[in-house]
Amino acid sequence: MSSNVAAQDLSPQEIMAVFLARDLKDREHVMVGVAMPIVEAAVRLAHLLHGPNMELIFFGTRMNVADRYTLPLPAFAWDNRVVRWAESFSDTGHRFEDVKHWHKRVFFIGGVQVDPHGNTNLIGVGPDYATLRFRGPGSVGTPTLSTHVGRYYIVLNSHSPRILVERCDYMSTYGWGGGGADARKKLGLPGGGPKYCVTPLCVMDFDEEDKHMRLHSVHPGVTPEEVQAQTGFALTMPDQLPTTPTPTPEELHALRTRVDPEGRLRRM
């Protein structure tokens, strides 16, 4: 680790992106949703550094651009012009016709609320569904994606007890339900479920047995007490709590010169 970049030169978003990039494997099909710049950076970094056979999926646009030197970050996924890099394109209705093959697929999800078992909510907040206190944007395709993909990541732009709650008012994705390693299997959900929850403060995973959210590593300079104070439920604490690794100089160089030359991840 001594060769890694010093933490004071990094933004939490850069640490998040590099952590996620390292966890992605070559040959995976990696799908990025709307307005997720950290995830977009992570996916592109992995593609450039160790994923020459990755398929990048931005909505229906599927691409492999590992042979390009740079992968700039425009207003990308939601914009029709992303198709300039595509090798194929599927319209909405046809995107859900091949879930059989989604064991190769990885995706990322945010949420209005996330609970200790990685269930998420994009529907809204408030006790009465007919008159919600906060009406969310809707589930997009996350219920189907979370059901079938090999694994997925919960990625939050901020870490607060308003988001990380004891119980979601509504569940738009089923992560580990009420807990337990067999929770998904009992419901017949074939996908691997949420693997990590990554925030600007830390990385969390899920206990192997009860699938309760557990602190996995804290970003440089963050204490577990700070994390717990910003979390709306009691986190499981691991026996050993490492610091989230910082990038190697090569990773940071690629991130800043090839993936995010405009420094978006330092200005969030």
């Binding site: 229906g60 589930s139 997009v140 219920p143 189907t144």
Partner: protein, 291 residues
Amino acid sequence: MEPRTSHIIDEVEAANRIENGMTVAIGSPTPMALVRQIIRRGLKDLTVVDVGLSLDMLIAAGCVRKVVSYYAGGGFGVPVAPAFRRAAERGEIEVWECEEGILTLGLQAAAQGLPFLPWRGGVGTSLPEVNPDLKVFSDPIQGETLLAVPPIKPDVTLLHAAVSDEYGNVQHVGGPGWIDLFMQRAADHTIVQVEKVVANEAIRKDPWATTIAGADAIVRVPYGAHPFYSRGYYIQDNAHLKGYLDASTAAAKGDPETLQAYFARYCREPATHADYLEQIGIRRLLELHEY
């Protein structure tokens, strides 16, 4: 023998085929000339199958009673479309809560004449609680737990596409749109607005490119998707959309003036699509031809 009948009508006649209370599905690229004509006519109590800012406009203009949607984000850093959010929070609209797979299946069930289609996405979530039309059931072969998705049956589907011949043979450029063909197959009646009407021979040159065969009606409206994009023709007018989003946000916070001015200028005062384009100006339209 009579000659073959043309399917071409204008946008005013097209919107006249829609009645208060109907279910209207709106494709993407967005058929905005028809959406504006709905607002101009002041249609009420529609059930709208749509996503995004065109949905927000129809709600803000008071046309909508029920929304069938899996996503109503605002874009430009605004996570939820403002009029949708406010109307839903106040209970002024009903939301048929779903997600992409379920919406697709509902349209497919209608097109296939089936009382339901099964789906696994959404099992374990709150979707069947907040949308009681989605029934949890055990499949008759393996006994697995699935959701039964009922048919979604638009009375009318409105689409935007690149070209058509006068007989309703539509060809898209760059893919047939987000979920457009599902909406067309599910609907009783489909009206497609197009950038251009081309010769029947031009269609027959590449019959595999025909995405909709024999649409019920064709409306010729160049720039008809503005302020949204039209694949192969022009890009999205983000400045215009941002203007709408700001106005809709202000209205949702209790200041409706800018939004009223928006609707007056772009929907109510122009009598036709050509009048709308005059309001936008040729200079602005031509700027959208740069990738």
